[in-house]
Assembly symmetry: C2
Homo-oligomer: 487 residues x 2
């Protein structure tokens, strides 16, 4: 089927329940389907939305087009969790059912206000001539999961920005509410982040102005801005589209980056002493990350693992993409660290350990596992993951702990997504030092935490599920453990 | 909406995807919804089907009408598990899409044959004049989850039985296949179980004849026959409808019973030295249980928790019923024992223990937990579960370890299902002995294992989810532990 515009935007009532049941079955039966990450029940998943703590549970939503692997008419799907690891699917939460979100309930954030969760999101409206009109909208989610939308937009597009104005992050400082909104300037089509403020979540909202991150250009558009305080340091996480590679090097079609500073001034919208732009993730597929400061005092991050304008092999099975695991953020010596949350350990099944000069770690480990290992200093070699018997196919981690280099190569996997953006990603690590890796595999997703989260390499990969070998190309001095993971 | 016959039997294509998404959300958001048991994704769930081991995983299916809490057009939904506790939903598996199952893909069983799973089930067909025509049908499920139906029925209704002829259990003894089928005799409308045999699962099938269980009457119909060998003892589990209460006492609208013997002769369809009829479960809501002898040498049981012709409070939320946890069967001294499978312990979170004269075990334990306790001999009292602060509302377990009696009372819960069939169920336990209980709560389901599975009391209950107290009415000499359960 060709996804014409008309088909992508037809209402959910235009599809039959039989079609949806078949799509749900097809996604569930996919060999590449994830088991312990958030994945679409059917169709396409993109940005995480509304990552928050409410009513004694963690909440996250995701952008969903339930009817195929294409960016059609979007809704929010909701999940809740007691521990940021075990997620319960509530299903449809925010539907595109008003004039203001007629062409999609697009991305946004959420924050507990009183005994309800306030959702602030972008309504995508298209005129009869297909002009995009973005509205920043509000809705209440009550403790029973019922959504009540506000009758009118919170923020209309300002004159200074183009039709690209979306992805509000709702913040609260004292009794004042703020919103960061991704934008493109109308005059010269440059990426920007606009700051708004209001005395209440429901408004009235007033523009403070564009945020100053100290960079002359943020490309032609900024999506998904998130300001989060990490161990006292303000960190702005965002997705600059069209960013010149001389500003910051990246290989993905669009990067997800962050800038840290010493303080963020909400009156002037200025980040003091901004750092250079840094890639949030050193892998192939992270985008549209959402971070927030939780009531437990920690900063958490969750990401879309998928990129705009790319195709993935499961498109053929009518589903696409997933969310990353939730990561706990820390800031130390000018650097952002990302670590698995503590409850990830509850997924571990039987522990297997290894030490010494090792070649094969496990011949049939499968692809639903956690692997922790420390490769001794001053070695070079290759670690294969999800590999076949002969190590011909698999993910390759090429390491050099003499010079300090780690390269992740998905070029020898069964189906390589987007090879035009390269099949390897590299991370510099300390030379002449042991290399510590904590790796999670979930059938078609790999998350590689390098040196306790100093870097994370996240990627989708598509291998035969029978390829379950973990092995080095040659004997390697290493210690470690691995566990099959449950659910 | 009134569920007219026409509405109940319209094709799944007659419903919109928007309707199904709303039903799935409504079921997920229900406060009564189960979290670690198999439950309907939407609509009504009834019999477990095809409980089997295939392709390295446990498989179970359930009868589903996805569009409301009514017995409409049925399909099979599939789930798989590595451990009989953590279930992965595959969704729709067997659809009512041929002439032979045009009015429902009704209950049946499954068995691995070669590298495929053979499904043997009842196709429900209605003629233009609404005459029921049951066909015993076959289908293959391959390792990718794809179903291929056989073109023709395996067994046509024999002349000796009425239109009520269904629920085949597929068995294999050596190289011969057998099927037990629930039936009603045509001549005098009595319940019966028919035995068939075949050289292969696909047939040709030939009648051996009605099974002799040593009882003069099995009521007017027998549903869901299952023959399972438990520690060397053949046990026939079945649902006799309209069974005279002088044959065997029961309080539920229809009982789920078992008869044990010393041997089952497949040539004569006779159970040697049959026991009296026994209730399989001492509670309110167990029906349509499926048992099978697994490749690991054990016998496992799973049940529908729900009864035909009854309504439940969640009908108002357009969903109904669930499956029990899987139980491991044992046979000892003429008695069937049912125990949780070992992996149920993997759900346990923080352990809480108690001992001595105890009144309140936990004030806010919630309703997703396991509770193990031993009440000392020669005491009388009441244990409240899922109770409010004042112990006015809750499940009541009235025990008397002097005379040896345990009564489960759901009369003081918020919404009492089917009170016309009584609000209490009683179990005799040894007098002057400690009473050992292992209790699982899952929001609206209680499973109470008495004295290491000598009896099981299974029931749905419907309380405010804020009622999380576990307490005795007065200080009670007891030792025990409890755990919140995950997922």
């Amino acid at each position: 089927m060709e996804w014409t515009r008309a088909k992508r935007y037809q209402p959910y009532t235009a599809y039959s329940a039989a079609t949806l049941l078949a799509l749900q079955q097809q996604a569930a039966d996919s060999p590449a389907q994830l088991r312990y990450h958030i994945r679409p029940r059917s169709g396409l998943l993109n940005d995480p939305n509304g990552f928050s703590y409410f009513n004694g549970e963690w909440n996250v939503f995701y952008q969903s087009f339930p009817f195929g692997a294409t960016h059609g008419l979007k809704a929010w799907m909701r999940l809740t969790s007691p521990d940021l690891v075990h997620w319960y699917e509530h299903g449809l939460a925010l539907q595109p059912d008003t004039k203001f979100d007629s062409h999609g309930a697009y991305s946004g954030s959420a924050r507990a206000v009183g005994d309800r969760l306030f959702l602030m999101y972008t309504g995508n409206h298209r005129t009869a001539t297909w002009q995009r009109q973005p509205y920043q909208l509000g809705a209440w989610l009550d403790q029973k999961g019922q959504v009540t939308k506000l009758a009118k937009p919170l923020i209309e597009p300002p004159a200074a920005v183009s039709e690209h104005f979306r992805d509000p992050q709702l913040l609260q400082v004292g009794s004042t509410y703020y919103a960061l909104i991704g934008a493109q300037t109308a005059s010269d089509q440059h990426g920007a982040i606009w700051l708004y403020q209001a005395p209440a979540a429901v408004g009235p909202w007033q523009a403070v102005g564009p945020v100053d991150l100290g960079e002359a250009t943020l490309g032609y558009m900024v999506e998904c801005p998130n300001l989060v305080e990490v161990d006292g340091t303000p960190v702005m996480i965002f997705c600059p589209q069209g960013l010149p590679k001389q500003v910051a090097a990246y290989q993905n079609i669009y990067p997800n980056m962050y800038v840290s500073g010493t303080a963020f001034d909400y009156q002037t919208a200025q980040l003091s002493q901004p750092s250079a732009l840094n890639n949030l993730d050193a892998g192939f597929d992270v985008y549209a990350s959402q971070a927030f400061n939780a009531p437990d005092g920690k900063a958490y991050l969750i990401s879309w693992v998928g990129l705009p304008d790319l195709t993935y092999p499961t498109d053929q099975e009518n589903w696409a993409n997933c969310l990353s695991q939730v990561k706990e953020l820390h800031f130390h010596a000018g650097h952002l660290y990302q670590q698995p949350v503590a409850a990830m350990k509850t997924l571990r099944q039987t522990e297997h350990s290894f030490a010494g000069p090792v070649t094969t770690i496990a011949a049939t480990a499968g692809q639903q596992l956690e692997l922790q290992l420390t490769i001794a200093a001053d070695q070079t070699g290759t670690l294969y993951l999800a590999a076949d018997d002969t190590l011909t196919h698999g993910l390759q981690l090429n390491f050099d702990t003499r010079t300090g280099q780690l390269e992740v190569d998905r070029g020898q996997t069964a189906q390589v997504p987007a090879p035009e953006y390269g099949t390897t990603r590299s991370v510099a690590v300390p030379a002449h030092q042991p290399l510590q890796l904590r790796i999670f595999l979930d059938h078609s997703l790999a998350e590689i935490f390098v040196n306790h989260g100093a870097e994370v390499v996240t990627l989708r990969y598509f291998n035969d599920q029978a390829w379950g070998q973990i092995a080095f190309a040659q004997p390697t001095q290493v210690t470690g453990k691995w566990w099959p993971l449950q659910l």
